[in-house]
Subunit: 140 residues, 2 copies
DNA sequence: ATTTGCACTTGCAAAACGCAAGTAAAATTA
DNA sequence: TAATTTTACTTGCGTTTTGCAAGTGCAAAT
């Protein structure tokens, strides 16, 4: 289904071929900043992604090594999605998107507050958050 | 045509509503790293964007204040596209995409070389490049 | 005066999207 | 134990977007 055909060798282009659509980075966002992510959890997000689109994007991201599926500890009916190292590596990019939006768009006050933290010590924030995500990934 | 309907208040989502497709950031890339950008110049890029898609994306980016059209100094038949401040503000994001691709995808050797510069002094690179783009914007 | 260059626009088939409904297995409830 | 609900998808189908080719109109060059 979501098989990758590169349009060029350009790193920007190659990256966009993987997650350059309106939905993929929202999935990554949920995986980065929500406590836990099952299929149903993604559907609860404000943007209201359609179920078939969600399925195809998750498959695409999995095929490209950005996310992995894991067994849910509580139930066989549930699936836990998590970011791989490659997915966690998108953190700096996600922060820059937030900072750009903060500067040039209108964003909610509570988000602005969190971004103040990031602006104060970007490298520190990335380190701490990366460790958190890596630990979350470990406990299989 | 390209009128913006926000899916949510989330900064990531709002940003993607503007440039979150397979082509917009390639246009921004050309504006950032090529010497000059007319309509025809964009068409020459490796990814071979279709003429109608290019027109709709340029309109969308212009409507959202990311690019502006200027008269070409040499000819009335030509149009020069340039990044606005808002567009120039995408530089850190573009660099992070490059760095992610460098780490997790396969990219050409000559690109890797330039990225070594960026890795050495990211803040410095951003400052210098921003000044360059601002100057380019001035000379109307 | 005619041709070429440039910035688009138009038409149309193919693909992707988005909504609603359906399915199958697991978990819960009666 | 049987019936219902939850969970993770899949399927159908109408609408929208994409991508390719061809066309248009103005400016510049020949």
């Amino acid at each position: 289904m979501g098989d990758l055909k590169k349009r060029s060798e350009c790193p920007i282009s190659s990256s966009l071929d993987i997650w350059g659509d309106k939905w993929s980075l929202l999935i990554v966002r949920d995986l980065m900043f929500a406590k836990q992510c099952t299929y149903g959890d993604f559907l609860k997000s404000d943007e209201k992604i359609a179920t078939n689109i969600l399925a195809s994007r998750l498959q695409m991201l999995e095929e490209n090594g950005v996310v992995i599926k894991q067994d849910h500890p509580d139930s066989k009916a549930k699936v836990l999605y998590k970011l791989t190292q490659k997915g966690i590596g998108l953190l700096p990019l996600m922060l820059e998107i937030n900072l750009w939006a903060d500067k040039y768009l209108t964003i909610p006050a509570d988000r602005k507050a969190i971004l103040e933290e990031v602006k104060k010590d970007k490298e520190g924030f990335i380190k701490v958050k990366t460790v958190e995500l890596m630990e979350r990934l470990e406990l299989k």
